[in-house]
């Protein structure tokens, strides 16, 4: 187990450093003057120079790089150009929204995906085809289109759920959940497919193994073989896929947060991109990469914990 964590960290830490470097390079090394990017094409050269000086973009590159990286390592991602606040504060205050959405969507796709994949693998025949068809549809429906449809049906026509907005779980857990249902559905549906397919494949693989026959021959009932033994063995590859799904849910959150007006990282990204707030943009890239790396670590630990061959080392 310790070895699994150490190996993942040995990959993750350099990746984070590389991403931090790349996001620095994105602004500085590639063509385009930072001041120009901030101010846009209509600004005069004088104004651009003033902004560069004010934000420290006129210092030597090496100096800028070392100070940016040194600060980033300590959790300081710079200061927003637009609102003058620390980038990390802006992001920290918004991450609960995005995590609520992404975790909810991942849970939804895991539960439905595993169920669908199990039914496909076990029942076979028309149920398999129907399950796979449903899964294919889940992957093909764009989340933004689905979101529009969900709002139309459940918020506008049926008036069951709010159309837009967010309530923090600190204020009211019930309201928090109510406001999240539609966004979670919109983001989560696309994740069902991958998990369903992975589950189906893993189940079919496990079910063709010798030990399944041993269990059946020993009189272990079908239900226990399927739900306990087969599912447990099939869940090892599925766990990695759940980690992967979570990451794609983060991407889906960008669009869905705007649609539902959720004050999360996604909507914030769009806002800082619109405003060409360079420190914020760099910060978002590094920050979200760190989240992905943590999720990958958790997925590795989960898969290792489920696999006695790895756990016992």
């Amino acid at each position: 187990m310790g070895r699994v964590i150490a190996r993942r960290l040995a990959i993750s830490v350099p990746i984070l450093l590389v991403v931090a470097t790349l996001s620095f390079a994105l602004v500085h090394v590639l063509p385009g003057d930072p001041g120009r990017v901030v101010l846009g094409t209509s600004a005069t050269a004088e104004q651009v120079r003033a902004v560069n000086q004010q934000l420290g973009y006129d210092r030597p590159l090496v100096e800028q790089y070392t100070s940016w990286l040194g600060d980033a390592v300590q959790g300081d991602l710079g200061t927003s150009i637009i609102n003058g606040r620390a980038v990390s504060d802006d992001l920290n205050s918004r991450i609960p929204v995005t995590l609520s959405l992404a975790i909810g969507a991942t849970l939804l796709s895991a539960v439905l995906g595993i169920a669908l994949g199990m039914v496909s693998a076990i029942r076979g025949g028309w149920a398999d085809r129907a399950g796979q068809g449903l899964a294919a549809l889940g992957l093909a429906i764009p989340n933004f289109w689905l979101a529009v449809l969900l709002v139309l049906v459940f918020a506008i026509k049926l008036k069951w759920l709010p159309a837009v907005g967010y309530v923090s779980y600190e204020d009211s857990v019930g309201q928090w959940a109510r406001y999240l249902i539609l966004p979670v559905l919109a983001v989560g549906v696309s994740g069902i497919t991958g998990i369903a397919r992975q589950t189906r494949g893993a189940m079919l693989d496990v079910l063709s193994r010798d030990y399944i026959r041993t269990l059946a021959a020993a009189g272990v009932p079908r239900r226990s073989i399927l739900l306990k033994h087969a599912l447990r063995n099939a869940s090892i590859p599925v766990i990695s896929n759940i980690g992967f799904t979570f990451i794609s849910m983060l991407g889906g959150a960008v669009i869905i947060e705007r649609l539902f007006n959720l004050p999360g990282i996604g909507q914030w990204t769009l806002a800082v991109v619109d405003n060409h707030d360079l420190p914020e943009i760099q910060g978002v890239v590094v920050y979200s990469t760190a989240i992905v790396l943590v999720v990958n670590l958790l997925a590795d630990v989960g898969a290792a914990w489920l696999n006695p061959k790895v756990r016992r080392r």
Binding site: I15, I212, A217, A218, G219, T269, K309
Partner: protein, 659 residues
């Protein structure tokens, strides 16, 4: 040769017959023609407005209605399609241009190249793609080409992974090594052996890359970050639809449908290629489809490959076989046929097998690989792997008809009255659960009681099968056991229900020679101790001689000889048995060359109509192949499926060979 090709259609043939492949390809062709031919084909210009007809539903003038400023939706979808498809296509091309060469080099050469390519893929997998795209967009402005190129880089990561893994697997194949030995250059080996192996998986992934790129491209368009208005784009049109959805919901239908159908088409094409590949079909005893198909296939349509019935077999009772100490046999198998569904009909792999097992008896089931002995053993337990199934015959166990049992009925038999020991102990135990829990679960099912009691009994069983530290093994996982230890655990599991009959399928074949004897001794002592009957499936005559009372010799799905072990070994009454005895190194004469039976067991579809052993038999005459051969009783207690037995019996060939 042609017959086998019919049984297993080629990948290409399967693809050609896949309806969803053709429908998807047709839709994509339509979208491509409509999009790129828009200037010629579209009924209206992309920005032609009809201000008197805003947000109209479908009509003769506007087949898919009009948008918020009165533009024809169909025309705009056609014009917008070209941009979206080119964007998605470009991103996919970039992904392929990066992923294919990197993946091939990484997988083929391994080492540093592999490490570098994989770190690159790790890096890309770790950054949230959409956020990077937005950052790029903020800094470079919304140039489609730049954004789509960056998307291509992001989408190359899964390709690198897939191609490198596939190329490495192909590189490891023996025929690739052989190609090197033959002096082929790297380029030739890659072109001839690696590329064909990575082609199908790459096509499948390319299809899903295209659909993902299209979804992201339209997503950006939806956010207003794609082509800027008034240029039409699929994503922006959904965005427009979403702003008017409360008053005019129609517009969301065509704009969403064209996108969903196109993404579906890409995915279906990928699925069709995947399903056409080899190994796409897998089956399990627990998968219902196997059973359903079995029932469906049981009717006459599937019959042609089943052989015609042989001349009437000699009545078993008359021959006196299996009818010794009186009383009803514990197990009576009568006319058992097991067939596997194949493309051209059923193929019988076990053909009218009849035998009996008495209480306390050890019966050997002997034959080469492919003789049907393992399937016979599994058929008794109702565990024939799909697509195989029992098509005929009766299996009576005590007063139960095993062929008629449902799940509930089997629950009282499997493990409880009939135990099963598998061939390869290392893969026959569930790797995710401890030995203890794999014993406790069936124990509690067979003898309801407390967990404590089951645990005590489990440890008792473990020491009974000769495991020195039962408590430690109880807590172990299968991967921590040696093969011999795992087989002892397998036997303990089979004993949890104190069965009356134990079926052991090659229980020693996968083990070291030194361990084989121990496991056989264990089986023998357990059998006498517990008074069980034992069916020992084996190809090893030494094992049969060692512990069996009686033996059945199987060849090509049939029993060819039956008798007591002493009789069989002293005076074989079938040329196949004789051949087996002669070619057994343990029974042969030291210093003399070891005779072999020429040829191998043919595949079930190729079994001859007459005597199935005739093509390999040294005594075969034309008559042997004329018609199916019936079982005959050459002497009391013996059965043999040979028409020349009277002649061969006179010679006592084994004695001749030995002297």
């Amino acid at each position: 040769m042609s017959a086998r090709a019919d049984v297993r259609p080629t990948s290409f043939g399967r693809l050609r017959r896949n309806r969803s492949f053709w429908i998807s390809a047709g839709w994509l062709a339509l979208v491509l023609v409509a999009s790129f031919g828009a200037p010629l084909l579209a009924p209206y210009g992309s920005n032609e407005q009809n201000l008197s007809d805003l947000l109209a539903g479908p009509s003769g003038h506007h087949l898919l209605g009009t948008d918020d400023v009165g533009r024809d939706i169909l025309s705009r979808l056609m014009y917008g399609g070209a941009l979206s498809l080119v964007g998605a296509g470009w991103a996919t091309l970039v992904a392929l241009a990066i992923g294919l060469p990197l993946g091939v080099v990484a997988g083929y050469f391994g080492g540093w190249a592999d490490a570098l390519a994989n770190r690159f893929a790790d890096l890309i997998f770790s950054v949230p793609g959409l956020i990077v795209l937005l950052a790029v967009e903020a800094i470079f402005g919304s140039s489609q080409w730049v954004v789509m190129s960056v998307l291509g880089v992001i989408l190359s990561a899964p390709l690198i992974r897939l191609v490198s893994v596939t190329a490495r697997a192909a590189r490891g194949e023996l025929y690739v090594d052989a190609a090197f030995v033959a002096g082929l250059s790297h380029q030739r080996v890659v072109a001839r052996h690696i590329v064909p192996n990575i082609a199908a998986p790459t096509i499948i992934l390319t299809a899903s890359t295209l659909s993902l790129a299209l979804l992201i491209e339209t997503g950006l368009g939806f956010l207003g970050l794609g082509p800027q208005p008034p240029t039409p784009s699929w994503g922006a049109m959904v965005a427009t639809a979403s702003t008017v959805i409360y008053t005019d919901p129609w517009m969301v239908v065509p704009t969403g449908a064209v996108l969903i159908l196109t993404v579906l088409a890409f995915n279906f094409i990928g699925d069709a290629v995947r399903d056409a590949g080899p190994g796409a079909q897998r089956a399990s005893i627990l998968r219902l489809r196997g059973r359903d198909r079995g029932r469906r296939g049981a009717d006459g349509a599937a019959a042609p490959l089943l052989t015609p019935p042989p001349a009437t077999d000699a009545p078993r009772a008359a021959a006196g076989a299996g009818d010794g100490e009186g009383g009803a046999p514990l197990l009576a198998v009568d006319g058992l046929r097991v067939a596997f569904a194949a493309a051209r009909g059923d193929v019988a792999v076990v053909d009218r097998v009849s035998f009996e097992v008495r209480r306390g008896e050890t019966l050997g089931l002997v034959g080469e690989s492919g003789s049907g002995k393992t399937i016979t053993g599994l058929a008794v337990l109702g565990l024939v792997p799909p697509p195989g199934r029992i098509v005929d015959g009766a299996v009576r166990f005590g007063d139960l008809d095993l062929t008629a049992l449902d799940d509930r009925g089997w629950a009282k038999v499997r493990g409880a009255r009939i135990g099963y020991v598998a061939q390869e102990p290392m893969v026959a135990l569930d790797p995710s659960f401890t030995v203890g829990s794999q014993l406790v679960e069936p124990l509690r099912r067979h003898r309801p009681g407390s967990r404590r009691e089951a645990r005590r009994r489990a440890i008792e069983l473990l020491s009974m099968v000769g495991i020195p530290q039962p408590e430690a093994i109880f807590r172990s996982y299968p991967h921590q056991l040696s093969g011999g230890m795992a087989q002892r655990v397998g036997i303990a599991i089979a004993l949890t229900g104190e069965p009356e009959l134990l079926i052991a399928d090659e229980p020693t074949t996968a083990l070291d020679v030194t361990v084989q004897g121990e496991i056989l001794d264990l089986l023998r002592s357990l059998q006498t101790e517990l008074g069980m009957s034992l069916i020992l499936v084996t190809h090893n005559l030494g094992v049969v001689a060692d512990i069996c009372d009686r033996a059945l010799v199987m060849y090509a799905g049939q029993i060819v000889e039956e008798g007591t072990v002493d009789d069989l070994f002293e005076r074989p009454r079938h040329p196949y048995t004789e051949g087996l005895l002669r070619s057994d190194p343990e029974l042969g004469e030291i210093g003399a060359p070891l005779p072999t039976i020429r040829g191998t067991v043919p595949l079930p579809a190729d079994w001859p109509t007459g005597c199935r052993f005739a093509p390999r038999c040294p005594y075969a005459v034309a008559e042997c192949s004329a018609a199916p051969v019936a079982m005959a009783a050459p002497e009391p207690g013996r059965l043999s499926r040979c028409i020349r037995i009277e002649e061969t019996m006179a010679r006592d060939p084994l004695q001749e060979a030995r002297s």
